[in-house]
C-alpha cells in the first residue's frame, strides 16, 4: 500500500501551499497519474480519504485523471501514445517501444477556501 505514503506526500504539499497561499480548507484535489507510475487509482482514493481525515483536506474530493504514456516506436520512429508497457505501437504494430513519458504522478489543481 505505497499509495498511503503517496497520500502523505500529497498532504505535505497541500500544507506547504496552504501556508504560502493562505488557505485553510481544500475542497478538491485534481491529480494526473501516468500509466507507468506504479499507482493504482482505487488504492490512491482509499489512501486519500484515510490520510486526509482531520487535516485541511478532510472530506475533499479527489479527481483522478489517467494520462497516457508516451513512447518512441523503434520500428516506425513515430512518437505515439499508449496505455501500458505491453501495448504495441498503435501506428505500425511494432513491439519495440522506448518509453519517453508516463511515469508521472502530479497534483494539477486545487480548489481551496
Amino acid at each position: 500500500m505505497h499509495e498511503v505514503s503517496l497520500c502523505e506526500n500529497m498532504l505535505e504539499i497541500l500544507k506547504a501551499h496552504a501556508e504560502a497561499e493562505s488557505f485553510t480548507r481544500v475542497k478538491r484535489v485534481s491529480v494526473a497519474i501516468g500509466p507507468l507510475s506504479c499507482v493504482e487509482p482505487e488504492a490512491l482514493r482509499f489512501g486519500f480519504d484515510v490520510v486526509m481525515k482531520g487535516s485541511i483536506a478532510d472530506g475533499a474530493a479527489l479527481e483522478i485523471e489517467q494520462t497516457q504514456a508516451e513512447a518512441l516506436c523503434l520500428t516506425c520512429m513515430e512518437t505515439v501514445l499508449i496505455g501500458s508497457r505491453l501495448d504495441p505501437c498503435p501506428a505500425c504494430g511494432g513491439t519495440e517501444l522506448h518509453m519517453t513519458g508516463g511515469d508521472g504522478l502530479k497534483i494539477r489543481e486545487l480548489e481551496v477556501m
Binding site: N9, K15, L105, I107, R108, E109, L110, E111, V112
Partner: protein, 275 residues
C-alpha cells in the same frame, strides 16, 4: 541530528518534512472562481500547480546518489518477490568478496532483523530497516542508513529491498542499478504480471536454476517476457545454492562498477572543467 534533512533523531514514527519546498512546482495566480478577492467574503478558488508527488523521494535519491559518488561507493538495489533467494544470493556474494572488498548491506523488511543477522554472520556490516506497514524502502530511509554504515572509497553497497515486485519499482534510492531476482519456482510470466519492476531493472537474475530438472519452468519464455517489457535488460542464470553461474554475476558486478566509476569521474571532470 540528521544531516540529510535536518530532522530530529526520533524515527520510530513516520516523520514528514513540512518545510521542504517541492521541486518542479509552478504556481499560477488569479484563477479564483469569483475572479477576484472580496475582503471578508470567503470564496473557493482554484490553484493550478504541477507538483510532483514523488518529488520528495527523488530529491533524497539524488542526495544519496551524490554522496555515494563522492564516496566512490557502487550501490545496487536488489528486488524480488519474497522467497526468490535474494538473501541467499547476497550471502554467497558477500562470502566470495569478503576480505577483498569493502562491503556494506542495507536490509529492508517489514519486521525482524533476521536478514541483517544472516548478513552479519558473514562478517559484513549490515543495517536493518524495518518499514513497519510500509511495502518498500524509500530514499529517505536509505539516506539515514548510509550515515550508520562504514562506507569506504571503492566499496560495494547492496540494498536488499522489501520482498515485493510492485511498490519498490517506483522508488529510486540513489542506486547505480536495480537488479531484479526471479526464481525458477515462480511463473515465467512474472515479468508480464509485474512489468514496472522488470522495466525498472537493468539486470534480471534467474535464481535456483539447480531446480530446473524438477520443474516445468520455461527459461527462454521468462527471458522473452522480460525483454518484452524491457528490451535492454541483461539476464544471468544462477544458483545461489550450488554456485552455478555465479562467475557471470561477479563479472557483471566488476564491469558495471568500472562503468559507474568512469561515469562518476567523468562527471567530476566535467564539473571541474566548468569551474
Amino acid at each position: 541530528m540528521c544531516t540529510v534533512c535536518g530532522c530530529g533523531p526520533a524515527h520510530d514514527q513516520g516523520h514528514y518534512h513540512g518545510n521542504s519546498t517541492q521541486k518542479g512546482v509552478d504556481l499560477h495566480f488569479g484563477h479564483g472562481t469569483a475572479g477576484g478577492h472580496v475582503p471578508g467574503v470567503s470564496q473557493s478558488r482554484l490553484l493550478q500547480l504541477e507538483a510532483d508527488i514523488l518529488g520528495k523521494n527523488k530529491s533524497y535519491a539524488e542526495k544519496n546518489r551524490a554522496l555515494l559518488a563522492q564516496l566512490g561507493v557502487f550501490a545496487l538495489n536488489l528486488l524480488s518477490s519474497p522467497g526468490s533467494g535474494k538473501t541467499a544470493l547476497l550471502v554467497e556474494t558477500l562470502k566470495r568478496l569478503h576480505g577483498k572488498e569493502t562491503l556494506a548491506v542495507i536490509e529492508g523488511d517489514q519486521q525482524t532483523a533476521n536478514d541483517a543477522d544472516r548478513i552479519r554472520e558473514t562478517g559484513v556490516a549490515a543495517i536493518q530497516i524495518n518499514t513497519g506497514k510500509g511495502c518498500h524502502l524509500d530514499a529517505h530511509m536509505v539516506g539515514h542508513a548510509l550515515e550508520s554504515l562504514p562506507l569506504q572509497d571503492g566499496g560495494l553497497l547492496f540494498i536488499e529491498n522489501v520482498g515485493n515486485l510492485v511498490c519498490p519499482a517506483g522508488f529510486d534510492l540513489g542506486e547505480a542499478h536495480k537488479v531484479v531476482i526471479l526464481s525458477v519456482t515462480e511463473g515465467e510470466d512474472k515479468p508480464l504480471k509485474y512489468p514496472d519492476m522488470f522495466a525498472a531493472a537493468d539486470l534480471m537474475i534467474l535464481n535456483k536454476i539447480d531446480l530446473l530438472p524438477h520443474l516445468d519452468f520455461d527459461v527462454a519464455a521468462a527471458i522473452e517476457n522480460a525483454r518484452r517489457v524491457n528490451r535492454k535488460i541483461q539476464v544471468l542464470e544462477v544458483s545461489a545454492r550450488t554456485g552455478e553461474g555465479l562467475d557471470g554475476w561477479f563479472t557483471w558486478l566488476d564491469q558495471a562498477r568500472t562503468r559507474q566509476m568512469a561515469l562518476n569521474s567523468g562527471h567530476s571532470q566535467t564539473e571541474l572543467a566548468a569551474e
